[in-house]
Symmetry: C2
Subunit: 274 residues, 2 copies
């Protein structure tokens, strides 16, 4: 196939289930002829903090340091630190990025958040002209692959932790879809620590199997930017005509574009039939 | 008043708006007789990564390192690293924690996520018996106070970024409410970089004013754990009787406990009238 995959992997222990999920993916993808990069964040001692050290040479405005502005300027001029540039090179080559991590506090671990904060610099990963379905990475796919402590039913709309689709929204829409990625359904390994060995093995088998056909999978559905009036006077809100049309439908557009109506079921976890 | 406040502050620059919001809070609270701690994460060079170095002495299971298990054991035995213990001491004393940060990728910056991952260790911040409205910190209040790049209308249910209430759910429910905090309405400073000086000054004034009466503010509403069958056979889901009763109402319980119905408006941003 000649495809390239980057696995951004965030677990401390080579004997963890997350490590096994990572190796499973590496093997399955290599078997299909893919080139695979792994960014093993803990092993790399990856720096998560967004600081002035990420910029080589003089700052534009040292008196009033703004990380976003400084890194955008540094990216344009090739003055981002080596560790960021190396990761950006892998992202550039990748047709698919898999984020492999244990869910920490309904979110990615800090070291992975740091990878996002630092690697997805303005200019490289998005610009004011290029976001959402006009995003820079629209030819690339991305998957969140993660383990949870709790069982699946806890993350239902009537479960103690609330709907997992809401939990996933800021990551899948705000990071991945924002940069234009085709977001594939998340690979969720529920309650791994409480699962017997044969269940864990079955989970890895189904992950391996899924990866066999990963290139033909349809992505999740997000709101098209065409629906919105992307101007300051328009407030970056739905066009009135679009709103009228959508209001007639039984559900909102996405989990967070709910328009005061019921959210479309499984919007961030399952591919829509349409 | 004799109250104690901890401000967990995550901005690199002492001349930023975030720094001004932090100083405004310090001054307002001190004027009201409060004791104020500031954890200035970048200045402290706070370590965000969850690693074995966070544990002093021998690991329980070095062959199969599990951060949650190891830090829970270390907390019980007073073997967490000095930097974590120092932060936990401030949390213990605090009646209110203010998290002051710029929104990075619809989320906290990595350095602040690292503070959460490391300081809120199992045993110290939660246990299987103590979570949500039985949470360890139920006598304490917490506020997310943050700046955004985008304007408010972008974060409406019909705005390009989707409903801010969805974005806030994993942090406010999954971190703060999970640990039992009374979660006060977030203090959101919209589009600060694009606001003229007089608007910024007015924002700080209204923050100062809000802090004058902060101790009497009602918290946001979350789902009571009494509504759920918190057993494995019950799947940690709503009691059937509770579900029937709630199904008759026009809205779900919270943003993510939506029960397939419209989400209650502003559930994570405004105090409910009831």
């Amino acid at each position: 196939m000649g495809k390239t995959v980057l696995i951004v992997y965030a677990h401390q222990c080579p004997r963890s289930f997350n490590a096994a999920a990572c190796s499973t993916a590496v093997q399955a993808l290599k078997d299909r002829g893919c080139k695979v990069y792994i960014s093993d964040l803990y092993a790399m001692n990856f720096k998560p903090t967004a600081t002035a050290e990420d910029i080589k040479g003089d700052l534009k405005n040292p008196e009033h340091f703004d990380y976003g502005d400084e890194t955008m300027a540094a990216w344009k001029e090739g003055r981002l630190s080596e560790d960021i540039t190396a990761e950006q090179q892998k992202v550039k080559e990748a047709d698919l990025i898999i984020f492999q991590f244990p869910l920490y506090w309904f979110n990615v671990p800090a070291i992975l958040k740091g990878w996002i904060d630092r690697v997805f610099a303005q200019g490289f990963a998005f610009s004011l002209q290029n976001m959402y379905d006009n995003g820079i990475f629209k030819a690339k796919k991305a998957i969140l692959s993660f383990t949870t402590e709790g069982m699946e039913s806890m993350y239902l709309p009537d479960g103690i932790n609330g709907d997992i689709n809401v939990t996933l929204w800021p990551l899948q829409n705000g990071v991945l879809n924002f940069c234009g990625f085709q977001v594939l359904a998340p690979q969720i390994f529920w309650a791994v620590a409480h699962s017997p060995p044969e269940v864990r093995t079955a989970m890895l088998d189904s992950w391996r199997e899924r990866l066999m056909d990963i290139w033909t999978e349809k992505p999740l559905t997000f709101a098209s930017t065409n629906l919105f009036n992307l101007t300051f006077p328009g407030g970056f809100r739905l066009h009135p005509e679009a709103k009228e049309k959508l209001n007639a439908l039984p559900y909102g557009i996405t989990t967070a574009h709910h328009l005061g109506k019921p959210v479309p079921p499984n919007n961030q976890t399952k591919v829509s039939e349409k």
